[in-house]
Amino acid sequence: MELELDHDQQLFWETTRKMLETESPLTAVRARHEAGGGFDRDYWSAGCELGWAAMLAPEADGGGTISGRGLLDVAIVAEEMGRLVAPGPLAAVNVVADTLGRRGDGAQRAEVLGALTTGEMVATWAFAEPRGSWDAASVELAARKDGERWLLDGTKSFVAEADAADVFLVTARTGDALTQFLVPATTEGVAVVPRESLDLVRHFGDVVFRGVEVAATAVVGDVGDAAGDVERQLQVALVLQNAETVGAIDRVLGFTLEYAQDRVAFGRPLASYQALKHRFADMKMWVEACLATATVAARSVQEEASNAPELISVAKAYIADRAPAIVQDCVQLHGGIGVTWEHDLHLYLRRVTQNAAIYGSARDHRARLAALMGM
């Protein structure tokens, strides 16, 4: 995404790419799928050793960045993971780590955040509900005060890596406001219901809360004060999702170009036909535009700019619109092999199509923009 990486980021980028090419080439992704999907904990720990879960955590809690701008550093990992449609709870863990670093109390940071950075624990954000909205106003899962404790009731859906998570960051409704809770997966009354996922290795599930009792110490931040954290978490998740998607589409365009230059029809390469050249030109334009807007949005979230909500929705709306269309066009340009299991295209199509619909669709983000524009 970023065209100008500093020396340390450059090194980090090269190390990340090499690590993924070795530990998680496409053949490994397919093998992982055959074995049930999800991600290997050892692989995730190896990534954590490189800092994949540490970039948004304070140093005192085991955190550390490459460039001082942690979100942009972990976006480098996300983009490389997109390039190889790799498994792993990168966004899931980093979203929670970011909030715990900012709002977690001493115990939460000591017991959970440190373990997240090492990969010992995996966390995920439980926010959307069965209706599939990432609009904070649609949260219905209720948290009711019961003496000194809280009772949680409701269902969270579309929770990334729900079956692998040791702890959930749950966004609940407390009266007219939102409160977030850190809830271990083993808490009585918490049930994870795995769902089918379009992606070959990324798992999603429902997390059902039936009379789940948690202590007051489970509250993250202040009661009724979670709206700002929810917005920040959405932004962080989207920066990493966008980075992953642009990594994927850039790679797909690249190997489709190679294919069209090699493959001959009627005596000349496919890439010499003007109709196809023009399609490639359009796709190059769209890919560069996706890269550009993902970068600008990422920077605005890193800097906590006042227009970060607008820019992240611009980026998501544009990328969600274009990315699946680009990969589908590349399927078209491959002809029949483009719709086979054997060809790698569907691995990418699955990832970008899923990303387009999670954390808000293009349509959802356009609706958000209309509101921000005062419509």
């Binding site: 065209l3 170009l257 023009h278 490639f280």
Partner: protein, 440 residues
């Protein structure tokens, strides 16, 4: 084509520059919608009609007098020698003010032709012409396209015959914006018809009021004049009035087109065409853009209409992403990550965005776009819809841009060209249309 873009090497920081700019702008120009018109007032005081051209010229003169003209142009030619970051910063500070579309008016002069002179002209030519461009005293046009060919620029048939120390030009140029109010033009003409087409061209500098040069404004489908056709009838120019070398005009034309596509796409490191609300992606008051569309939707009671909200947001996404792409292409070409011709990515994105936003505006306006109450001022929406294809055609059609992107940016095989290495005199081309008695 290198300019120093590293902010660290420059004396005045962007922040300090912005502070000065803010003070200057507040002192000199009126905020948009304030009802004040210092530019118009100054012109009227001097007995000059406050037309679009005169207002823009005045704005440029004031920028120059205030020390804010030619921000990224070298100091030795009258510029400030600052960076594209300073240029962008000035545009941001200027957004709330009425600068009379100065960016658009001087778009060709300072965004396209000026940078080309910087890259390829002799010191004598640069010293004579650049300062007057920056000061707002001289406006320039491009005499490139011809009635016999627009896309095939290298196929120009306008002839320049040597006669001692001068060249004599004969032929016709067309689609020239602004020839009717400009001072100088760069003119691509054929100096040697017996070599392959790309090798026999020269870029001349021609005063628009030269004897033998007739400018004919063309009427557009919208009813406006906007482009011109020119007839060159034994127009003489000095042999030193060239940009670059004799017979190397194609190098100059190619460079000019790169600058043009960058400028039109919003990615020029020399000039912001959108400054002061001028032509270009991301301009403020256009009803097809940003907050203008919000106002349009509300005016038609569509504020709560879900589909209308989607359309308004879609337009905002496209115009915002266009700006992001402009920044990226600028940095990428500076770093060599993308070739200079990557400006075509911007041009294509800008024009496809314009097409889509034109459609969105029409969708929101409904019947009021096609039947309306007469007012002064802005072009009615339905009429501007007639010009929807304009930016997909001018400065190289979208089809040509796709050829450039696929061939020069992606490196895909070039189109077959039967005229590439053959003497120009042997190539098939369109017949020059006969000029009618009524001059058309």
């Amino acid at each position: 084509m290198t300019i120093d873009t590293s902010v660290e090497d420059v004396e005045e920081s962007v922040d300090a520059f912005c502070a000065r700019a803010r003070a200057f702008l507040a002192e000199t120009f009126a905020p948009v919608g304030s009802g004040h018109d210092p530019i118009g007032d100054a012109l009227r005081e001097h007995g000059v009609e406050a037309t679009y051209v005169e207002r823009g010229r005045q704005a440029q003169r004031w920028l120059h007098a205030g020390g804010f003209a030619g921000i990224a142009y070298p100091r030795e030619y009258g510029g400030l020698g600052l960076t594209p970051a300073h240029l962008r910063a000035f545009s941001r500070e200027a957004r709330p003010y009425d600068l009379a579309g100065v960016g658009g008016l001087f778009g060709m002069t300072l965004g396209m032709i000026g940078p080309t002179l910087l890259d390829l002209a002799s010191e004598a030519v640069k010293a004579r012409y650049l300062p007057q461009m920056i000061s707002g005293d001289e406006l320039w046009v491009q005499f490139l396209s011809e009635p016999t060919g627009g896309s095939d620029l290298a196929g120009a048939v306008t002839r320049a015959s040597r006669d001692g120390d001068t060249y004599v030009l004969n032929g016709s140029k067309i689609w020239t914006s602004a020839a009717d109010y400009s001072d100088y033009g760069v003119c691509l003409a054929r100096t040697d018809p017996d070599v392959p087409k790309h090798r026999g061209l020269t870029m001349f500098i021609v005063p628009v009021d030269a004897p033998g040069l007739e400018v004919l404004p063309l009427r557009l489908a919208t009813g406006d004049t906007g482009f011109c056709q020119e007839f060159f009838d034994d127009v003489t120019v000095g042999a030193d009035q060239v940009v670059g070398e004799i017979n190397d005009g194609w190098t100059v034309a190619s460079r000019l087109l790169v600058h043009e596509r960058n400028a039109v796409g919003g990615g020029s490191p020399y000039h912001d065409m959108a400054l002061g609300g001028g032509f270009g992606p991301g301009r403020g008051q256009d009803p097809r853009q940003g907050m203008g569309l919000v106002a349009l939707a509300k005016a038609h009671d569509l504020g709560d209409d879900a589909h209308a909200r989607q359309l308004v947001a879609e337009a905002h996404v496209l115009t915002t992403v266009a700006r992001h792409l402009g920044e990226r292409v600028q940095v990428a070409t500076r770093l060599g990550e993308l070739p200079p011709l990557a400006g075509s990515l911007l041009k294509l994105f800008g024009s496809t965005t314009n097409v889509r936003t034109a459609d969105i505006a029409m969708a929101l306006a409904g019947a009021s776009a096609v039947v309306w109450e007469a007012t002064d001022g802005e072009t009615p929406l339905g009429v501007s819809y007639l010009f929807r294809q304009a930016t997909s055609i001018l400065s190289g059609t979208s089809e040509i841009q796709r050829n450039i992107i696929s061939e020069r940016v992606l490196g895909l095989p070039r189109e077959a060209a039967p005229d590439r290495d053959v003497p120009f005199s042997a190539v098939r081309h369109n017949a020059m249309p006969q000029r009618r008695r009524d001059g058309r």
